[in-house]
Symmetry: C2
Amino acid sequence: MMGSGVFADVFPLEVALAAKDVQGKVVRDELRAIGYDGALPVGRRPVAAYFEAHIEQGPVLEDARKVIGVVEAVLGLRWYDCVVTGLESHAGATPHDRRKDALQVATRIMQEVVAIAERSAPHGRGTVGFVQVHPNSRNVIPGQVTFSIDLRNVDVERHDRMDRELRAFAARLQSDTGLRIELREVSYNRPVQFEASCVSAVRGAAGKLGYDHMPCTSGPGHDAVFMARVAPTGMIFIPCKDGISHNEIEHAEPEHVTAGANVLLHAVLDKAGVAA
Amino acid sequence: MMGSGVFADVFPLEVALAAKDVQGKVVRDELRAIGYDGALPVGRRPVAAYFEAHIEQGPVLEDARKVIGVVEAVLGLRWYDCVVTGLESHAGATPHDRRKDALQVATRIMQEVVAIAERSAPHGRGTVGFVQVHPNSRNVIPGQVTFSIDLRNVDVERHDRMDRELRAFAARLQSDTGLRIELREVSYNRPVQFEASCVSAVRGAAGKLGYDHMPCTSGPGHDAVFMARVAPTGMIFIPCKDGISHNEIEHAEPEHVTAGANVLLHAVLDKAGVAA
């Protein structure tokens, strides 16, 4: 979402060009290396409407045996880094009443992240995907655990409540256990409702072309999230096998890809006022 | 414990020489490099008695304000590798009722490891020190989590019961969640009771020299654990600051080190039948 972020002025061009991957490779250098560091200014052009077609990256359409998802909204996202600090000590020598085991405390937060999301069903999501244990030795009670937290919801109010519940739980646990718990928000994207005329252009195209369709909410972020800030925006989903994406076994049926492209074309024509 | 393990025929010389560290360095090559790959055969010499002095690596002596720990036993140790396999999927796109989150299931085992040890107080210990999450990305529900389990007890029966409780919990959780849970024992050392005459030689030396002392159980393994298989064996502990060891802030008071060396000397003299 770097290109759309710069286009929609969510962050400056310099921030995107200076971004590094885990190996230290810089976006600017890599764009130059492949000849994609062009001379035209980014963004600030008028856009009448923006449509994006994508695999769902989730299992809902496949389960419902629908071909087209009419995306009405994208979940808001909050990312946190959480650090629990205890005291590393020897696994054999340290009696349990003397331990400050950072991992044991961290597991309680990891479970609460999911509990918070489940209390906020059906559009609440809570995930811990990244965990780093220090010193990460079989023989040593962990002194520090760093992990990511991802909380999502389609509704701003409910999303804010998830945030408050997480912070309250962490504060209570810190006071109960005496271990330090740091919780830092590192990213926030508001929930996005797509523009009604774009949603209805997608729904109309799917109906006209005779594809089974259903309303959808997107969990992942997309360029459309940023483009929605500068233009009327809509999205089209097609099913993908087992909801898997960003993975070598990602798969979409060719006829579903065709259907998605057809709906995209007819939604654009409709919105442009051109009869197909 | 490589040297004592080969000396006491717990494992063959070849196994020790072929051991590699995480960078791939091999013991045999490194011993040669520093000139320590000697020509004499290892082990098989008669040993009348073996005594070992060590920092406690735990907080018990320091808490009790004692100078000498008379070690009576060493906790038995079981090491396991546990692998929980779910399905990696997108943190935003996957509703909670469709997830197979390997980390959430793993956290329940991690907590049970400690619960098992606490039910086996005061000599039960349970630790998860090493955790590896795959793919370990903020955005992805973990598909697989690998972690270590360390269970210890001073009593063979109780130690075996801890093992049975762990296996039963893992089997129940696998059946409840449908996620695959593999539990593999990778190391087992029986609990060791030191020889009565050696323990009393240590206690007698501490008493004669006027050092405050108390009976102790060792959590960590030591060369004495292997040497106890081939000779009467005893151990002497001295306090260390905050129970910390294998760490840059490890610290023992010089007067405690002196006390430990004195008790070692007098225990050896006693056992050798030499009056000091």
